[in-house]
């Protein structure tokens, strides 16, 4: 494998330096490195980050390859600057056996664009009744560490307790989709002024918060790790903050769209804004940003949820929930967190690479940009401004809420173990 010299990039937004990649690792980080036989990337003004890691991606394969495949999803991930993604288990069949998680893992390896770490289902068929073979999934080639019934809440307190206890045997973590099912029957959007006006079933904040409160208590009780998926309310933030103040092993994520969009957008009845959990209020958005900045929320996770056009080109109630996010995540984070001064680029590296890799126990990712480390890297041009054009997405689906919206930042290069997966903004 040839050498690559990234010249003059600001490492984690700090001082410019040269980074020499040799094979799969970072060989040197210094100033004034001679190019020699290396391919040179002039990167002045750009920011170099450890490769981004997503804890929450829906790749849809097996079963819904019309929405996304592991290949198209990992290409989208690479385009967005990601070098590793966790693939959620709500596939068809559900990823609740060693066989399915190994299949997804192998497809990820074959894609070559991004490491795919399968998430195993907590319960058989995501039905919330019987624990899946968590140990077998962990012991498989996929080495599953993160378990989630995402898309559905593990609402039975006993099942949740048992899952939390069981995964301690192999340092696993249960990632909870916090949604009390009875309180959200018929729910279509955030419950509040807008839902009252639009006549859409309200999705109360307390449906999320009550489950989070229960689960942090359960995790503390059994001494296990719990991770809360896609926080969306100010109240959820307060519960996680309280749990962390107790020293409990609780982590949490927020999606880019919950950092930017509010339920006011639902007035358009455009299903592109239909997502689970729903878009909340401006006050919730501000609370989530602050919590991500102060570390209460550990990381950004995309909840990339591709759907084919026909599943969104319909009336609100009939539309599927979710939006794609891999290719716009970094831009939205720059827009909402960096350009607002809430965090710097080192903070982005921490929330989008270091912490998600640590939660998922991904040893080769989220590492410092230092000599001897795996060359999983993302190079960003933060000065770029441009309108989002979904026609150019690598994802098989186009259900983005940002079509035509001007967002900052652009991933110019992504490196997976020293191999460029994205060059000058284009997939290699």
């Amino acid at each position: 494998m040839s050498k690559i010299l990234i010249r003059g990039a600001k490492i984690l937004g700090g001082e410019p330096a040269d980074v020499l990649i040799d094979g799969e690792t970072i060989a040197r980080v210094s100033t004034g490195i001679e190019a020699g036989d290396a391919t040179v990337i002039e990167a002045e003004g750009r920011v170099l980050l450890p490769g981004l890691v997503d804890l929450h991606t829906h790749l849809r394969e097996p079963g819904r390859e019309d929405s996304e495949t592991v290949l198209t999803g990992t290409r989208a991930a690479a385009a967005g600057g990601f070098t590793a993604v966790h693939a959620m288990a709500n596939t068809f069949p559900v990823a609740d056996t060693a066989g399915v998680v190994e299949q997804v893992w192998r497809l990820g390896r074959e894609s070559g664009y991004c490491d795919v770490q399968p998430v195993g289902a907590v319960t058989v068929g995501l039905e919330g009744k019987q624990l899946a073979e968590l140990g077998a999934m962990h012991d498989s080639a996929a080495g599953v560490k993160v378990f989630s019934d995402d898309g559905k809440c593990v609402d039975d307190a006993v099942i949740m307790r048992r899952a939390l206890e069981y995964v301690k045997a192999f340092d696993g973590v249960v990632a909870q989709h916090a949604q009390e099912p009875r309180l959200t029957e018929g729910a279509q959007m955030n419950e509040g002024v807008v839902s009252a006006e639009l006549g859409l079933g309200g999705w109360p904040a307390v449906a999320e918060e009550s489950i989070i409160a229960r689960d942090v208590l359960l995790a503390a009780h059994v001494g296990s790790r719990v991770h809360i998926c896609h926080l969306s309310t100010a109240g959820s933030v307060e519960i996680v903050r309280w749990a962390k103040s107790k020293g409990w092993n609780v982590t949490a994520e927020v999606t880019p769209h919950h950092l930017l969009l509010t339920d006011e957008l639902v007035r358009s009845y455009d299903p592109v804004y239909k997502v689970n959990p729903p878009l909340r209020t401006e006050a919730d958005v501000m609370a989530l940003r602050e919590a991500l900045a102060d570390g209460t929320i550990d990381c950004v996770a995309t909840d990339h949820a591709p759907h084919p056009h026909e599943d969104k080109d319909c009336e609100w109630a009939a539309a599927a929930m979710g939006m794609v996010g891999l290719e716009t995540a970094l831009s939205v984070v720059q827009h909402t967190m960096v350009d607002t001064g809430l965090i710097d680029w080192a903070g982005v590296a921490d929330r989008m690479s270091v912490r998600p890799a640590a939660i998922g126990r991904l040893g080769g990712h989220g590492r410092p940009v230092s000599a001897g480390e795996p060359a999983n890297l993302t190079l960003v041009d933060p000065s770029y401004r441009g309108a989002v054009d979904p026609a150019g997405f690598a994802s098989r689906s186009r259900n983005t809420p940002y079509k035509g919206r001007e967002l900052p930042g652009r991933v110019t290069h992504t490196f997976l173990r020293g191999r460029a997966t994205v060059v000058d903004g284009k997939l290699a």
Partner: protein, 338 residues
Amino acid sequence: MLCSPGDTSRTPRHLISAADLTRDDAVLILDTAEEMARVADRPIKKLPTLRGRTVVNLFFEDSTRTRISFEAAAKRLSADVINFSAKGSSVSKGESLKDTALTLEAMGADAVVIRHGSSGAPYRLATSGWIDGAVVNAGDGTHEHPTQALLDAFTIRRRLVGADAGLGKDLEGRRVTIVGDVLHSRVARSNVHLLTTLGAEVTLVAPPTLVPVGVEGWPCEVSYSLDEVLPASDAVMMLRVQRERMNAAYFPTEREYSRRYGLDGLRMAKMPEHAVVMHPGPMNRGMEITAEVADSGRCTAVEQVANGVSIRMAVLYLLLGGSETALPSAAARTEENK
């Protein structure tokens, strides 16, 4: 007032939400409906106004009453009417709203009257570019039912102000009480918007479980006590209690609901003498309203049905053949919401 139809250069306009109507829009519709009501008194109840126009009644939900009302209205204006019921149609075979709309567009529908179980479906139909014709919301989910609100306002104005005396007038200072399942009621939502636009003061009365979270954003008062509100009401609108919701813990028993929020003769006696009792139908006699009240001269339920035809004639006329400024476009509403 009545304009000659046939102006094909008009831009498509829609009636999606009562909130889209200005005071002048609403008064124009009410005044036009008064003129339409006179047609019903003629031996031949028909105008040639919409001859050659096609109106499709696109009903994804059963509603014989509303469909017949729109059908009668369109036929009295000489429009061709196509009734499209989702049951037994291609929709029940899985056809989407979009494909149904494209079919209707291909058939040359000038107006689509849509009843749908999903809030916002008419808005999507009007704004997604699936069809060019006018869209009239005949009830969508728990969102709105604007022509019901218009016929209610029309009924109130006729009763409290007078048919001829009411022309050009709104409902300034009138106090309207809406009682019952506000949470699930598109009728209540449309009435709150329209009646306040027309200058009325609206009070919602319901058990707290049937008041939407977020109601504080509505231009009305909320009370949990019917007895306290009745003496100051000019019109009391009783909403139908949907029996299918009885088991959802919104209230303990039918008997308790009836005792606290039902309108009987004793309660009606607390209302001012001029005050009317309204009901959008169908009524649950003995539940939200007793037979004594329903059959009294103060109850306008039957008039509301008749007035519904006049209002729908006015709406179809104004959308398809009349004044350009009567009804706003959904596109204009979209702009406002940006």
